[in-house]
C-alpha cells in the first residue's frame, strides 16, 4: 500500500512490440479509473522508473502487475522474477507473455541464423559486418548488454503466473472489463477468480461471435487472401478456402477480422479445451479436406504455403513442441 492508501500497479514490456502498452492507453478516459484506484508504481513506457526502485520494494508490495512480452534475454528474465516477487497478482498480458506470439516464431531458428538475418541480410546496411557484443571495453570501463537466450519462453515457463489476458493486443473492451472486475474486488464487491483463470475471453471460439454463414465444411482448395478475386461477404471464410483460425481461437475479440473479410490469425490464443493450438487446427483442417485421392490431397495441402506461420503464428513457444530442435539445443541449424 502506498502513502496515499492506493494499491500499487505495475506494467512491464519484455520481448514484444509494444502494442499491448498502446492497448492499455487505448481505453481512453477509463485510464483515469486506473489512476483513481491505483498508484502507478512502475510502468517504464509511461513514466520514469528505475529497476533499483523495484528491487527496493517489499515482497508483494505491488498488488497488480500486467506483464507483456516473452522472455528472450537475461534482462527479461530478471525483471519477470523480480516482478513476480514484488507482486501479489502477476498477469500475463497479451499474446507474447501468454504464448510467445510472433517473437516466439523465432524458436524455429537457432540464434546464429537470427543474427545472420538481422545483421547481414539485404535489409540491413552493415558493410563491416558488425555484431553486437555482450561485453565491450571503453575507456570508462566495461559495458555490457543483456545476454540473449537461445529460445523465447512464455512468462509462465519462467515464473508462476496468476492470471492470463490473451490477445495481440487484448481488446480495449476486454481490458476495461478486467479493470472493472479488479476495482470491484478492491471495493469488496466481488471475489477474485480462481488462480490460472484466463480473463477477458469467452467460453467458446471466434466462430461463436462471427456472423458469417456456416455450412458443413468441405475444403477443395486453399487460397491466400491476396489471391482471392472476390471474397463472399456472407459465407464462412474457411468454406471459401481461406485458412481462418477462428474455429480454434478463444472468443472475446468479437470476430473483428472475419467481419472485415480477413481470416482470423488466432491472436486470442487457444480456446478453452485446446492444448496444442497448431496441432488442433491442423487436425481439424485435415479432417475436412474433400478428397480421397492422395495426390489430390497433396495438391490441396500445397495451398498452405506456410504451415508453421499459419497454425503456430502465436502459439509456438507455448505449444507442446515449444521450439525447433536446433534452437532447443542451442546449436546451429
Amino acid at each position: 500500500m502506498s502513502e496515499n492508501g492506493k494499491p500499487k500497479f505495475a506494467m512491464y514490456w519484455a520481448a514484444s512490440c509494444g502494442g499491448c502498452e498502446i492497448a492499455v492507453l487505448n481505453i481512453h478516459e477509463r485510464i483515469l479509473d486506473v489512476d483513481a484506484n491505483f498508484e502507478v508504481a512502475f510502468w517504464p513506457v509511461a513514466m520514469d522508473a528505475k529497476y533499483k526502485d523495484v528491487e527496493a520494494m517489499q515482497d508483494g508490495e505491488i498488488l497488480l502487475t500486467l506483464f507483456n512480452g516473452g522472455i528472450r534475454n537475461e534482462e527479461n528474465e530478471h525483471i519477470a522474477k523480480l516482478l513476480r516477487k514484488k507482486s501479489q497478482l502477476l498477469v500475463a498480458f497479451g499474446s507474447c507473455a501468454n504464448e510467445g506470439c510472433i517473437p516466439g516464431l523465432a524458436n524455429l531458428s537457432p540464434m546464429e541464423a537470427l543474427f545472420e538475418t538481422a545483421y547481414h541480410t539485404a535489409s540491413t546496411e552493415n558493410p563491416e559486418g558488425i555484431l553486437p557484443q555482450y561485453e565491450y571495453d571503453v575507456p570508462e570501463g566495461t559495458i555490457t548488454i543483456p545476454t540473449m537466450y537461445p529460445v523465447l519462453r512464455t512468462l509462465d515457463q519462467v515464473v508462476d503466473v496468476d492470471y492470463y489476458i490473451p490477445g495481440c493486443p487484448p481488446e480495449s473492451h476486454q481490458i476495461e472489463a478486467v479493470i472493472d472486475a479488479v476495482i470491484a474486488v478492491l471495493k469488496g464487491e466481488a471475489e477474485l477468480p480462481p488462480k490460472g483463470t484466463v480473463l477477458g475471453v469467452g467460453t467458446s471460439t471466434v466462430c461463436d461471435e462471427c456472423s458469417r454463414k456456416r455450412d458443413v465444411k468441405k475444403i477443395k482448395q486453399f487460397v491466400r487472401i491476396q489471391d482471392v478475386e472476390r471474397i463472399d461477404p456472407e459465407i464462412c471464410l474457411l468454406e471459401q478456402g481461406i485458412l481462418c483460425n477462428g474455429p480454434a481461437t478463444a472468443s472475446g475479440c468479437t470476430a473483428l477480422c472475419p467481419a472485415a473479410g480477413a481470416p482470423c490469425a488466432g491472436c486470442y490464443g487457444p480456446a478453452n479445451g485446446v492444448i496444442d493450438y497448431g496441432a488442433r487446427m491442423m487436425a481439424s483442417v485435415a479432417s475436412v479436406i474433400d478428397s480421397r485421392d492422395p495426390d489430390e490431397i497433396d495438391a490441396i495441402l500445397d495451398g498452405l504455403v506456410d504451415p508453421a506461420g499459419s497454425f503456430y503464428r502465436f502459439n509456438l513457444a507455448h505449444s507442446l513442441l515449444h521450439t525447433g530442435q536446433a534452437s532447443w539445443n542451442g546449436k546451429g541449424s
Binding site: Y149, T205, A271, N272, I275, S284, V288
Partner: protein, 677 residues
C-alpha cells in the same frame, strides 16, 4: 507433473504383469517388472505388483478378483497383450472383484514391447514406461455404466443374392420378420446367372431357385424388389430405414405373372444386366423365367409409351388389367433392429485392359458372358459359339487374373477365378471338344475338393501355360495365325515367349466392389477398405459384424469369395442377429463422444466426419450434437474439433495426458531450457 509431485491421491492400484508363456517373458524380465512396480511405484499408489504365466487364464483372473477384495484395490493395471484381445476379459475380472469394470487399464507389453524388440534390457525398461503410463492414466478413469437399448424384432436385408437369401431364410425360419430389399426386379443375384457351380458341377439354378421360391412365399419375409434404401436413421435395435419402391407400372396384386405382357411388348432392349449384353429382353420384363417375384416391371426409359405417348400393348393384352401407367415411386419407412448388407460385387470392366481386346475383338468374352453362354436358359441355349452365334470354336484360351493380382488395377486375388476358369475349361471340353489353354500365374485351389477338380481338368487334356498374357491380337504374323486370335504370353516354365492362336478368348475378370459401395457404406455408417470392400469388425474373429453395432455384412460385399463361403456368411450374420433378437436388449459400450455445449461454436467442422452419422447440427441453437446411441466412440470428431469442445469418454485429455506424463516420467530426464549462450 514431476516424479516428486506425483501422488497416490489415495488410490490403491494393483499391477499385474503377464508372461504370456514366453511371448512376453522371453523378452521382458517380467518378475523384475512386477517387483519394480510394487517398489518404485509405491509412492504413486501401487500396492500390489504381481506376475503370472497367463493372466487371461481363470487363475490369473482370480488373482485380480481376490486382490480387489483382500487388498482393497480401487484401480487395476494389467500389463499383457493388446486391449483388442483381452480388455473385456480383465474388465470382467475387475467387475467380479466388485469394482466398476472401467477402472481397469491395460498396458500392451506384448504387441508394443516384446514382439517388436529383441534387446531384453531395453524392452524391460520400455515395459516399465508403459506400466508407468497406465498407472497414471488409470487414476483418471471414471466408473462407467453401459447403455441398454431394446432390440426391434424385424431385420432389414439389403441385397437379394444368395448371401441375402440365406440370411433372410435363417431369420424368417426362426420366426422373426424380415424385409428383403433388392434393386433389380428379381432376387437371385449373380448366382442366378451361372450355369454350373464348381467343383461339383451342380446346376446353379436348380439349387438356387428353390431358395428363391421359399423367400417369395415365406410368411415372415416381406420382399421389396425394384426398391432401394434411401436413408438410414437410428441405431442398433432401433433403425428407421427409408426405402424407395420404384414405380413398376404393374399392379402386383392383380398380376398373375402369365407373361402375355412381355410376349406382346413390341420393344426389344439389349439386356445388359442379366444377359450381360448377349441377349434381349422386352421393355416390360422379368430378368429370367424363374424370377422371384414373378411380377414384371416396365423399363421406363425404354418403353415406347413413355417415349412416344402411344403403344400400351401390355395394357391392352393384360387379362387381369394389372398395368398402371400412372404408377409412381412409393417411399416407405420400416423399423428394424438389425441390418445385413449383402450387396455383392461388380465385374471388372475388361475394357480397361485394352491389349486384351475385349470390346474390340469380337471373340474375346468376359467370364460372365461365358457363364450366360453356357447356361441352357441363356441366349445361345447353352451352345458354346463364337460371336457370330453359330460357329463352335476349335480352340479356346482362358486368361486368369484379368484385373486381379495386377498392380495397375487390383492387388488382391479375386479368389474364384481359378476354379471358375477350370470349370470353363471343363465345359468347353465337354461340349465342343475344342483344345483349351489356361493362362495362369498360380493355380489356387485350396477349398474342399477344389484341387481334385484341377487334377480332373488336367487329366482331360487342358493345356496350362504359366505366365501373364501380354496381349490378345488378331494381327497374324506366322502361318496358321490368319483369322485367329493370337495370345502372346511368356511361358515362364518353358522360359520362352509364345504366340498361341485360338478361336475364342475368355477373360476371367476380377470381382470388384460395387461402384456405389462407398456411398452405401456411408449411408449405413460403416467403413470400406482402401479397395472398397466393406470392413469387418475383426477380420478373423468377427468377420460378419462391422464397427457399427447392428449392421452386419455378408458375401462378396466384404471381399471376393465363392458360393459356400458366401452362404456361410449369410448364415453367420443371421446367427449374430438371432442372438440379439433373443436377448431383447443390448448393453452398449459406454465409450462415447460428447459435445461440451458451452465450448462449441457451431463451426460445423465435425458435421460430415462421423462414420456412423451420429453428428447433427441444430440450426436453432447453432450447435453440433452427437446422438449418443449412434456414436461408437471412434474419436474422429474428438480429434477434429478445433475448439477441443468434444470429449471422448475413456479418452479425455486428462487421461491421455496423464498417460503421456506417466510414460515420460520414467524414461526422460527433465531437460532444462538450454543455458544462455
Amino acid at each position: 507433473m514431476t516424479g516428486e509431485e506425483a501422488q497416490t491421491n489415495g488410490h490403491r492400484i494393483g499391477v499385474y504383469v503377464c508372461h504370456c508363456g514366453t511371448n512376453i517373458a522371453g523378452v521382458v524380465d517380467v518378475e523384475h517388472v512386477s517387483e519394480w512396480a510394487k517398489d518404485a511405484l509405491g509412492d504413486r499408489g501401487v500396492v500390489v505388483g504381481k506376475d503370472y504365466k497367463f493372466m487371461c487364464s481363470d487363475l490369473g483372473q482370480e488373482l485380480i478378483q481376490k486382490d480387489i477384495e483382500r487388498e482393497g484395490l480401487d484401480r487395476v493395471v494389467v500389463a499383457a497383450c493388446s486391449p483388442h484381445l483381452h480388455e473385456k476379459t480383465f474388465r470382467n475380472a475387475t467387475e467380479r472383484g466388485g469394482l466398476n469394470p472401467y477402472l481397469c487399464e491395460m498396458a500392451s507389453i506384448r504387441e508394443q514391447v516384446s514382439w517388436v524388440h529383441t534387446n531384453k534390457a531395453i524392452a524391460t525398461e520400455k515395459a516399465k514406461a508403459m506400466i508407468s503410463g497406465a498407472v497414471e492414466r488409470v487414476k483418471e478413469h471414471e466408473s462407467l455404466e453401459p447403455f441398454r437399448v431394446p432390440i426391434e424384432e424385424a431385420t432389414l436385408i439389403v441385397g437379394g443374392g444368395i448371401a441375402g437369401i440365406q440370411s433372410a431364410l435363417e431369420i424368417a425360419n426362426a420366426g422373426h420378420p424380415v424385409y428383403l430389399v433388392e434393386r433389380e426386379p428379381s432376387i437371385g443375384g449373380h448366382m442366378a446367372q451361372f450355369d454350373k457351380t464348381f467343383p461339383t458341377l451342380d446346376c446353379s439354378a436348380c439349387i438356387l431357385t428353390p431358395r428363391m421360391s421359399e423367400v417369395g412365399v415365406h410368411p415372415n419375409i416381406e420382399l421389396l424388389t425394384w426398391s432401394e434404401v434411401e436413408k438410414v436413421e437410428g441405431y442398433v435395435g432401433n433403425f428407421a430405414v427409408t426405402i424407395r419402391k420404384k414405380a413398376s407400372y404393374v399392379i402386383n396384386e392383380d398380376c398373375t405373372g402369365c407373361g402375355i405382357c412381355w410376349q406382346k411388348c413390341p420393344k426389344k432392349v439389349i439386356d445388359d444386366k442379366f444377359e450381360v449384353g448377349l441377349g434381349y429382353r422386352k421393355a416390360i420384363y422379368t430378368p429370367f423365367e424363374q424370377a422371384v417375384p414373378k411380377y414384371p416391371v416396365i423399363d421406363h426409359d425404354n418403353c415406347t409409351y413413355f417415349e412416344k405417348g402411344s403403344c400400351k400393348a401390355c395394357e391392352k393384352f393384360c387379362p387381369t388389367e394389372a398395368i398402371n401407367f400412372e404408377d409412381e415411386d412409393e417411399v416407405i419407412t420400416v423399423n428394424v433392429g438389425n441390418i445385413v448388407l449383402a450387396t455383392g460385387y461388380d465385374l471388372f470392366d475388361a475394357r480397361r485392359i485394352p491389349q486384351y481386346g475385349y470390346g474390340r475383338l469380337a471373340n474375346v468374352f468376359t467370364s460372365l458372358e461365358f457363364e450366360r453362354m453356357t447356361n441352357a436358359a441363356g441366349p445361345t441355349d447353352g451352345d458354346i459359339v463364337l460371336r457370330d452365334g453359330v460357329t463352335a470354336p476349335k480352340s479356346v484360351g482362358i486368361v486368369h487374373c484379368v484385373g486381379s493380382r495386377d498392380r495397375n488395377f487390383n492387388n488382391y486375388c479375386s479368389s474364384i477365378c481359378c476354379m471358375q476358369s477350370l470349370k470353363f475349361a471343363h465345359l468347353v471340353h465337354e461340349r465342343t471338344g475344342a483344345e483349351v489353354f489356361n493362362f495362369y500365374i498360380d493355380i489356387r485351389t485350396p477349398a474342399k475338393e477344389y484341387d481334385e477338380f484341377y487334377q480332373r481338368v488336367l487329366d482331360e487334356g487342358t493345356r496350362f501355360v504359366r505366365g501373364r498374357v501380354a496381349e490378345v491380337t488378331d494381327a497374324a504374323r506366322l502361318p496358321g495365325e490368319e483369322g485367329k486370335l493370337i495370345v502372346q504370353v511368356e511361358d515362364t516354365l518353358a522360359g520362352q515367349q509364345r504366340r498361341i492362336p485360338v478361336d475364342m478368348v475368355i477373360l476371367s475378370a476380377a470381382l470388384e466392389p460395387r461402384t456405389d459401395a462407398y456411398e452405401t457404406a456411408k449411408k449405413f455408417g460403416i467403413a470400406c477398405s482402401a479397395n472398397g470392400w466393406f470392413t469387418e469388425k475383426h477380420p478373423k474373429l468377427d468377420p460378419v459384424a462391422t464397427m457399427t453395432e447392428g449392421v452386419f455384412i455378408a458375401g462378396c460385399s466384404t471381399g471376393p469369395k465363392d458360393i459356400p463361403a458366401t452362404v456361410s456368411q449369410g448364415s453367420a450374420a443371421a446367427a449374430r442377429i438371432l442372438s440379439y433378437i433373443e436377448m431383447g436388449e443390448l448393453a452398449l459400450e459406454p465409450v462415447r463422444a460428447t459435445v461440451i455445449a458451452e465450448q462449441c461454436s457451431g463451426c460445423r467442422i465435425c458435421n460430415d466426419l462421423c462414420p456412423f452419422n451420429a453428428i447433427s447440427y441444430d440450426a436453432e441453437t447453432e450447435l453440433s450434437e452427437i446422438n449418443i446411441a449412434l456414436c461408437q466412440g471412434c474419436g474422429t470428431c474428438v480429434a477434429a474439433c478445433p475448439a477441443g469442445a468434444i470429449t471422448g469418454t475413456g479418452f479425455s485429455n486428462e487421461q491421455v495426458l496423464a498417460q503421456i506424463e506417466g510414460l515420460l516420467m520414467l524414461n526422460v530426464e527433465p531437460q532444462p531450457v538450454a543455458e544462455p549462450a
